[in-house]
């Protein structure tokens, strides 16, 4: 079984898709090198990332299929779920044939799967746009740690760059050790393992406490519904909230 291995980057994945199209030796799977486990039957082929080739695939998806399809592919890639390299490959194989209509073919497994995963990533992004919490550090800097299921920090940064345009901020994905940094002009993504000791701004605790009290008071007694609360705000996200929902 031929397996193409890429370096884990989106460019790497697109390069692998390029090679799969042009090489005669077609892969049965495409996966990130990190997640590859050697076994007796597989024949790995390491694909070297090439930004020209990746760029061609990128353009081709947009031109020959649709911008929407490109977005879905990127979202599915960001899910980092096992098997997404191969899934994207299958989805695109089909896409080259049918073009812009692709997402109407809901009876096809790869199409449904791509839409389903892309949607999950989109849902988490939307959810985190609301649930992210900044804390003010001394020196006019706001810091927001979070631990998303998917690799969405890059999908969140543009929103906050528009919204909190006049403040400096860091959005830190603790799980993956990456962060988006913004300096009131532009944002970029860099690795950031830990932060060390942070010194909070003097009135940070004051506003946190106001918010916690507000959160407790705003619920109407007699209408308590924890189930719905958890449904929309799963408990795994509570850790980084300022407010404290009770179990």
């Amino acid at each position: 079984m031929i397996i193409y291995l890429y370096d884990g980057s989106f460019e790497g994945l697109l390069t692998a898709i390029y090679e799969a199209y042009y090489r005669s030796e077609k892969p049965e799977q495409i996966m990130a090198q990190q997640s590859y486990q050697p076994d007796l039957f597989s024949q790995p082929r390491v694909i070297a990332t090439d930004s020209d080739k990746a760029g061609k695939v990128y353009d081709a998806i947009e031109r020959k299929i649709s911008h929407e399809a490109l977005e879905h592919v990127f979202y599915v890639y960001l899910s980092e779920l096992p098997g997404v390299g191969t899934l994207i490959y299958r989805y695109l194989q089909f896409g080259w044939r049918v073009g812009a209509d692709i997402n109407g073919h809901l009876s096809l497994e790869p199409v449904r799967e791509v839409l389903r995963i892309s949607q999950k990533v989109g849902v988490e992004r939307h959810r985190m746009l609301g649930l992210l919490r900044f804390k003010k550090i001394q020196g006019e800097l706001y810091y927001a740690p979070f631990e998303p299921d998917y690799n969405i920090v890059g999908l969140m940064a543009p929103h906050f760059a528009r919204r909190l345009a006049d403040q400096n901020w860091i959005i830190h994905d603790l799980k993956r050790g990456v962060a988006a940094f913004y300096n009131q002009e532009r944002w970029l993504i860099r690795e950031l393992a830990g932060t060390g000791q942070l010194n909070w701004e003097e009135n940070e605790a004051f506003y946190q406490e106001l918010w916690q009290n507000y959160f407790q008071r705003i619920a109407v007694e007699g209408r308590t519904n924890r189930k719905v609360q958890r449904q929309f705000m799963p408990a795994r996200y509570w850790h980084h909230l300022i407010e404290k929902p009770t179990q």
Partner: protein, 432 residues
């Protein structure tokens, strides 16, 4: 009194207002400013009662000269009172906003010492936020009935949404429970705001530079279960507010007993189930092409509590069904119980490529538990029971589904804001 205590008092006093929507506006940030609005709305938390928290919801003051029987803030009620200064409200809003606790501010007020001065205080606060603090996030402000139109109109040029609460569905009910309020005083600013919105939309079509007026539209709220008014009366009122005053949303709030006044009913708990049915029916009015008179009539003026309004309607109109899912047009597809706007659109897309059978429908998000009795796929009926009102009704009534449990509360009220682009939550978001 310190800020923390004021916030405690003035948020507790505001919580019965159910609207917390932050959608419908796409106000942009400006250079050097903070904030913007997200057209689809964003929830920042969910409170213990399962409602979306999107806006900081507070009263400017809870001192009140009126004595509405159903309201905690009524003059005769003995409770702690407070008033914010405009600076305090602005400071709270900005500091919460910069930490991403909220989408913006929903500012309301009790009436103190008269409508004009109340409206002036609200106007001062939003002006301060927009100009001095350069805040471009979402603002929803109450218009106070009886206040000078010029004050309301100026406020409208600064905020995203305005609302006037209609409170009770009929003049008689108002007379009974809020005798100081006149229905005309409530309806008049609603109509003026409504026509001003339409006017400004027209002007903005001509010129992008024309000032926006309440771009996220107008909403209102009414209390359900504090009076004897039927669902039919309520729904007809909503219908005319949507069609004639162009309201964006009507919110329904199950009456939470806050008083032992003999004019009020004694309820063990708020009539949440009834509230839920009204939200479902409201949805049918706005997105499914139904009219109030199709759903209810004088002979049966209230909703079935165990059956959603669409299923109820379908059962009374079995002669229109079953429909062939591969042929039926969109308008009728929407009328099938178990098919929502999203799944109807998916059906249209999918059947362009191949004709659908029973299994496909499930994958498209159709709630088969309900839809199966009203559809055929490629000519075949999957109901598996005699096609009669009683037999189908019995099946539909067979204990509430999981989906029903989730939707029970006022959740519905803000459901359009929960997951606007994605529809992971479709099955629980008003897809009937």
């Amino acid at each position: 009194m310190d800020l923390a205590e004021k916030l405690n008092i003035l948020s507790a006093a505001a919580k019965y207002d159910v609207s917390c929507s932050s959608s419908g506006s796409n106000r942009k940030n400006k250079p050097g400013g903070v904030g913007n609005a997200s057209a689809s709305g964003i929830c920042h938390s969910w409170s213990q009662d399962g409602r979306c928290i999107s806006l900081l919801k507070i009263l400017q003051t809870n001192f009140c000269v009126y004595d509405c029987a159903y309201c905690v803030n009524r003059a005769s009620n003995d409770l702690p009172r407070a008033a914010f200064t405009p600076e305090e409200v602005a400071d709270l809003t900005i500091n919460f906003y910069r930490r991403n606790y909220i989408e913006g501010l929903f500012l309301s007020s009790a009436v103190w010492p008269n409508p004009n001065q109340t409206m002036e205080a609200l106007l001062r606060t939003v002006k301060l936020l927009r100009t001095q603090y350069r805040f471009n996030g979402y603002l929803h402000v109450k218009a106070i009935p009886g206040a000078d139109w010029r004050l309301i109109a100026e406020t409208g040029t600064l905020v995203d949404r305005m609302s006037v609460n209609i409170e009770l569905p009929t003049s008689e009910s108002l007379q009974l429970l809020a005798p100081q309020k006149k229905r005309e005083n409530i309806l008049q600013p609603m109509k003026l705001i409504g026509s001003q919105i339409v006017e400004s939309q027209e002007e903005r079509k001509q010129s992008r530079k024309a000032p926006a007026f309440v771009p996220a539209g107008q909403s209102t709220q009414l209390i359900v279960g504090a009076t004897a008014d039927t669902d039919l009366r309520i729904l007809q009122l909503s219908e005319s507010l949507y069609r004639r005053v162009h309201l964006k949303r009507v919110y329904y709030s199950a009456y939470v007993p806050v008083s032992t006044n003999p004019k009020l009913p004694t309820l063990a708990s708020p009539p949440l189930n009834r509230e839920h049915r009204l939200y479902q029916a409201d949805w049918l009015l706005r997105f499914y092409g139904f009219e109030a008179k199709e759903l209810l009539n004088e002979a049966s003026p209230n909703f079935h509590l165990q059956l959603d309004p669409k299923s109820d309607w379908a059962l009374r109109n079995l002669h229109l069904f079953p429909l062939e899912v591969n042929k039926v047009d969109y308008r009728f597809l929407l009328r099938v119980p178990g098919i929502g706007v999203k799944s109807a659109q998916r059906i249209l897309t999918a059947r362009r490529f191949h004709s659908l059978d029973f299994e496909d429908l499930q994958k498209l998000g159709v709630v088969m538990k309900r839809a199966r009795y009203f559809l055929t796929c490629k000519g075949k009926y999957f109901g598996q029971i005699p096609y009669r009102e009683e037999t189908i009704k019995e099946k539909l009534l067979a204990k509430p589904t999981k989906v029903e449990n989730y939707t029970q509360l006022a959740l519905f009220s803000d459901v359009e804001d929960q997951q606007p682009v994605q529809d992971a939550l479709t099955s629980i978001t008003g897809e009937l």
